[in-house]
Symmetry: C2
Subunit: 129 residues, 2 copies
């Protein structure tokens, strides 16, 4: 399987497959005589794992740990759970921050009549009242 087919089969773009290989997230692919990367079912499975983890917002560093745990038969599920919950915490912190921004802005915007007059509490707030 060439990289394009592996990309289709895994949902990871060829560009990203090469990138993941270059940073050591996934092992170097075998090559054909012409230098083309070769992928089998196993490699596609790894790529799918990576894609699912990315879809859940895991940073690449965390995916590296997840992959290591995945292939470690003696793993402790506690380690996986901790990784997951750390990520949940990070997500929720960002969510809280963004929610605060959205709330503030929505509040200001509600007080803005939004017509052709220049007076605007949003700008007033940004300029420090």
């Amino acid at each position: 399987m060439n990289i394009g087919e592996a990309a289709k089969a895994s949902g990871v773009s060829a560009k990203m497959i090469r990138y993941y290989e270059s940073i050591g997230l996934i092992p170097e692919a075998a090559r054909s005589d012409a230098g083309y990367r070769n992928y089998g079912a196993r490699e596609v499975q790894i790529l799918r794992f990576v894609r699912r983890a990315r879809d859940l917002g895991f940073p690449v560093a965390a995916i590296q740990e997840l992959l290591a745990l995945w292939s470690d038969r003696a793993r402790h599920s506690a380690d996986v759970k901790r990784l997951a919950m750390d990520h949940v915490s990070a997500l929720e912190q960002k969510i809280t921050e963004m929610q605060a921004m959205a709330d503030t802005l929505r509040h200001l915007a509600e007080a803005c009549c939004g017509d052709d007059r220049p007076d605007c509490p949003i700008l007033q707030d940004l300029s420090g009242d």
Copy 2:
């Protein structure tokens, strides 16, 4: 006022002040004979505006528009409001996505006993069941 003092007064780092100038977000600062940037109250006010807008998560492109509206006495508050609400929409879309990630992960983690055994529904999900 040198750039360091302007940074302290505005809460924008000297590094970022130079960057904002280089991309044209703020006008080029006046210079002393030795080439040092000079800032006055007006410039600090602009920097504070930028910092508040950044704190609310506005991307630089939006801040550029906000600054233009701020200095436009004939502005329509509707334009400001639209900018703000567009940003709120962007924030809330990201929040929704991240909330979905966090919910999924928390759900999976709840089903993970998190002890020294290897069985883990999180890895099971990532590997495609």
